[in-house]
């Protein structure tokens, strides 16, 4: 095992439109367990940001507490990051975004951070349709405290200790669609081909993009009997392939024509999706909820882009804030001066 990243860069490393190599999107060395699904997600975020040619310093990374929430240290070291308190990342992200609408906000959370302690904030940030990408690294358990079940753990899933989970799981994607997330996807840390385009699409979406990424915990939740193990998830994954086509590029991927839906995103890029059936309209919330429920019933887990609303109003539209970020306004813009105070005083006499 290495403890330091080599500084060497290959002179022929591919650069993107903003002159950065993939290495410019990396972070510190991960301290998570070897084989942790979260590291694959970090790698997918790195790929997505590199391929989208996002300038690292235009990104703000936010997280809560837990294994997942440590990961912002492992990608985009050129971005500011805010590792906040347990379950409270959504509010910090909201404040940050309200103050500066020009940055790209990536939130990383876990199933404990999101579905238990942070449930309230999670639901409300979706209601507000905050313009951000919110990735849940969902492994069904609390890793840092040694493997307790989380609220996304499926009923009857067996813990490492052998206990059977008696409680109903909270399905984050269904909740997201219900309360107002405008881009809802589910993916698997082990399916890079699906995950990277989904993250790119989420980053290109204007509004709240939720990605529930099943990310097995190799230490506490990867055994037989667990529904969130690599093996079990691979077996039950009903993956809908996703192809992200940036602006101005031709669409080359070919899918079975009848089941393909093309979605043009706000920034001009196009998402090309292969659906599980023809009736499924991913721009219709009820259709999405039906498809998810149908697959759950069949003991299948539907992954891919599940729902999108392209024409929603994000929080800044609702608040009618000026296009110039609030954090750039100066005293001259903001302070009314003593003359106005005279009129206030006059009204109070």
């Amino acid at each position: 095992m290495t403890y330091a990243k080599p500084a060497f860069r290959h002179p022929d490393s591919k650069t993107n439109e903003v002159g950065c190599t993939r290495r410019d999107y990396e972070g510190g060395l991960s301290t998570l367990c070897a084989g942790c699904g979260h590291d694959s997600i970090s790698a997918a975020i790195i790929d997505a940001c590199f391929e989208l040619s996002i300038e690292p310093h235009r990104v703000a990374k936010l997280s809560g507490i837990g294994c997942s929430s440590k990961t912002p240290a492992y990608f985009l070291s050129g971005s500011h990051s805010f590792n906040s308190v347990h379950g409270r990342m959504p509010s910090v992200a909201t404040g940050a975004n309200v103050a500066n609408r020009d940055l790209i906000y990536i939130g990383v959370s876990g199933d404990g951070d999101t579905a238990s302690i942070g449930m309230g904030q999670f639901a409300h940030v979706m209601r507000r349709n905050l313009n951000m990408t919110y990735i849940v690294e969902n492994n069904g358990c609390y890793g840092l405290t040694k493997g307790q079940d989380s609220a996304t753990m499926d009923t009857d899933s067996v813990s490492k200790k052998g206990d059977i989970n008696p409680y109903m799981p909270i399905d984050l994607v269904r909740l997201g669609i219900e309360v107002g997330a405008t881009f809802v996807g589910r993916s698997f840390s082990g399916d890079k081909a699906q995950l990277v385009p989904l993250i790119k699409a989420a980053l290109s979406h204007r509004g709240f993009a939720l990605l529930d990424v099943i990310s097995p915990c190799v230490t506490f939740n990867n055994h037989q009997g667990s529904t969130k193990s690599y093996a079990n998830f691979r077996e039950h994954n009903e993956a809908m392939p996703v192809d992200f086509v940036p602006r101005r590029e031709a669409i080359t991927t070919s899918y079975d024509a009848g089941m393909v839906q093309e979605v043009c995103l706000h920034d001009g890029s196009v998402l090309r999706l292969q659906k599980v059936n023809n009736e499924y309209n991913i721009e219709d919330a009820q259709s999405a909820l039906d498809a998810i429920a149908h697959h759950t019933k069949q003991d299948r887990i539907l992954t891919g882009l599940l729902y999108i609303n392209r024409d929603s109003e994000e929080l800044h539209d609702v608040l009618q804030t000026a296009s110039k970020p609030l954090n750039t306004l100066t005293q001259r813009d903001l302070c009314p001066g003593s003359r106005f105070l005279d009129s206030i005083n006059a009204g109070l006499r």
């Binding site: 300038e55 690292p56 310093h57 235009r58 703000a60 936010l62 912002p72 240290a73 070291s77 050129g78 971005s79 500011h80 990051s81 805010f82 590792n83 906040s84 308190v85 409270r88 959504p90 509010s91 910090v92 992200a93 909201t94 404040g95 940050a96 975004n97 309200v98 103050a99 500066n100 020009d102 940055l103 309230g120 904030q121 639901a123 409300h124 929080l315 608040l319 009618q320 804030t321 000026a322 296009s323 110039k324 609030l326 954090n327 306004l329 100066t330 005293q331 813009d333 903001l334 302070c335 009314p336 001066g337 003593s338 106005f340 105070l341 005279d342 206030i344 005083n345 109070l348 006499r349």
Partner: protein
């Protein structure tokens, strides 16, 4: 009993039913006295209820300009049979009781030492109006008209106030003035007007007011205006009495001042959060990103925000929090005042945490201290908690006009810009104490393409913001935070010290809304030959002059509005003087603002001055 006599110095209390429109009529009554140039301080004593429960409005008239509660009631305007028994018992002997004669008085509670002034309020309304809501609303206006005759209020001023109040709803002006006239006429015909207690305009200038160029304003509005002047662009909040009107007023002023004329878009954002946790999180997120952001809350909110206050303290993120205190613990008495969040605020959150507190005592200070709070938050990179209370925040106070120096410039603290980062040759360390004052430099996200990015976290980190569990590095950081708190002492508002005319070793120490009645008590005691120095605290951490003051006195009465003497304990905890025996706790915590008489009585007791007659002899008699 001889009716009370007093010009421009008395206390009137209105006993009403909540939700019947009495508040605006009572407010008009107080404002009319204010317009006459006579010092007045009105207070709403209201229930946590929307409609139906008893509510009171106490108006202190004081020629000398005392704005705190005096204690005792000289006239009760009793419009609520529910609370009649209690109301009548509060009137001082010789005082007056204005009541509605439509229904017979409950004779069990009638006292002989009180003068009754019956007005058939309900009957007059039934005769005059057909609509039931009008019958209820105009009852209030009629008694204000009657009081104008009884107390000698300038009737022209009342009419002006009606016209101002109903500007835009002109058809309501005539009926309101008519109701005032009905009351006025009834009182003039049936009683000898004015009464022994009454008003007289043009008396000498009030003793404690330099010039009668005053405004009448509540503390929450002044706080909101302070936030506007400080350049706050983000307010995140969760509604809670008695702080709600801070954000309401902020929004009102922003709508006037912060709309971009070209686009109609807003140069501010107000987010109503799902709870106080979230409100504080938003404030921290916005400040982290370089916008000035604040929240306003009360005790229960402080409890919830404590988690985030700890984060902001440790991660060194500026934040401004206005705590409009109410009576706790738990839900306590949501519509009653107290100064009982001192400990909760000073040490909010787990671990070794301390916060900078400000203690405004007047609306003018709410305004100026809020402006100052944003500078302090950014200069010190830490939360600043402004400790207002319900009495200051929700009641209207007479105050000198608000002032703002146009030459003043915001202090945005130690922030490295993109250009400064570009020019830097050394490595940027977010938590490096470059200047030796414990305050490091920060950067805003997105400031520079390759320099200045750092990891903000609530976990232990080194000078370069890298995670660490190294004990020495942790201790170094914690000690720097303490040093920063020391630096704060040179930046926070200093205490106000007033020395007695004669040398003394005894003193009073107080803060916030306790100041007004304390200064009045001081003068009561001075008249009796008791001299006391005073210190009004305006901030925590305590500055050097606070320690010197304690050092210089043998006995210091710490007056505060909570049960446990929280400020006294904070002084013992946070000063380097041996003061346990010196600091004597004087507390009031019944939820109503402490009165001058109460303070004076307790101090007399401590000083062993017992030859003073009781203040309110309760010689209640049954008729």
């Amino acid at each position: 009993m001889q009716p009370k006599e007093s010009i421009n110095d008395f206390v009137i209390k209105f006993a009403n039913v909540n939700g019947t429109g009495s508040a605006s009529a009572n407010g008009m009554f107080a404002k009319a006295i204010f317009r006459m140039g006579i010092p007045v301080s009105p207070r709403n004593i209201f229930p946590s209820n929307i409609q139906g429960l008893p509510t009171w409005y106490e108006v202190r008239v004081s020629q000398d300009g005392y704005l705190g509660r005096r204690g005792g009631i000289d006239m009760m305007v009793s419009v609520n049979p529910q609370s009649f028994a209690k109301d009548v018992s509060e009137v001082e002997p010789g005082g007056y009781m204005v009541y509605d004669t439509t229904k017979p008085l409950d004779l069990r509670h009638v006292r002989r030492d009180v003068n009754y002034l019956g007005i058939p309020l309900t009957e007059m309304c039934l005769r005059e109006y057909t609509d039931s809501r009008q019958r209820q609303l105009f009852k209030n206006v009629i008694y204000v008209g009657a009081l104008a005759a009884l107390l000698n209020i300038d009737f022209a001023i009342l009419k002006d106030l009606v016209r101002e109040q109903f500007k835009g709803k002109e058809k309501l002006i005539t009926p309101n003035i008519h109701a005032l006239e009905m009351g006025h006429q009834y009182a003039s015909t049936h009683f000898t007007c004015p009464l022994g207690i009454h008003l007289k305009a043009g008396e000498q200038t009030p003793k404690h007011i330099e010039e009668f160029d005053q405004i009448l304003m509540d503390g929450n509005t002044a706080t909101a205006l302070g936030a506007v002047y400080a350049g706050a662009t983000v307010a995140a909040w969760y509604p809670i009495t008695p702080s709600t009107s801070v954000v309401d007023a902020f929004e009102k002023y922003c709508r006037r001042l912060r709309i971009d004329p070209g686009t109609g878009k807003k140069n501010y954002a107000i987010v109503q959060a799902e709870d106080e946790l979230s409100a504080m999180g938003m404030v921290i997120g916005a400040n982290w990103n370089g916008a000035r952001a604040f929240t306003a809350t009360s005790g229960p909110g402080i409890s919830l925000m404590s988690e985030f206050l700890g984060l902001a303290y440790f991660a060194e993120v500026p934040a401004v929090l206005v705590d409009v205190q109410r009576a706790g613990p738990s839900t306590g008495m949501p519509t009653r005042t107290q100064q009982s969040d001192i400990f909760a605020a000073a040490y909010a959150s787990h671990g070794d945490t301390k916060h900078v507190l400000l203690f405004p005592a007047t609306p003018a200070e709410c305004f100026s201290m809020t402006v100052e709070a944003f500078d302090l938050a950014e200069r010190l990179q830490t939360p600043i908690i402004m400790m207002s209370d319900l009495d200051l925040g929700m009641n209207e106070w007479m105050s000198p006009p608000l002032e703002f120096d146009d030459n003043y410039r915001y202090d945005r603290g130690k922030v490295l810009t993109g250009e400064e980062l570009e020019a830097m040759t050394e490595r940027f360390g977010r938590y490096l104490d470059v200047d030796g004052d414990g305050i490091p430099y920060r950067t805003y996200p997105g400031a520079h393409p390759t320099k200045g990015a750092y990891f903000t976290r609530g976990s232990s980190r080194d000078e370069y913001a890298a995670y660490t569990e190294d004990g020495d590095v942790y201790v170094r950081n914690m000690d720097r935070l303490l040093q920063k708190f020391e630096t704060a002492k040179s930046l926070v508002p200093e205490a106000k010290i007033k020395m007695a005319e004669a040398p003394t070793k005894d003193a009073l120490l107080f803060f916030g809304t306790t100041a007004s009645p304390a200064y009045e008590a001081l003068e009561m005691l001075e008249k009796e030959g008791i001299h006391l120095d005073t210190l009004r605290l305006r901030s925590f951490p305590f500055t050097q002059e606070v320690e010197d003051f304690i050092e210089a006195h043998d006995r210091i009465f710490v007056i505060e509005q909570n049960r446990d003497g929280q400020m006294r304990r904070l002084l013992l905890n946070e000063t380097n003087v041996e003061a346990n025996a010196k600091l004597v706790s004087v507390v009031e915590y019944d939820g109503l603002p402490v009165t001058a008489r109460k303070i004076a009585t307790v101090i007399r007791g401590h000083l062993g001055v017992n030859n003073v007659t009781p203040l309110v002899p309760q010689e209640k008699e049954t008729a």
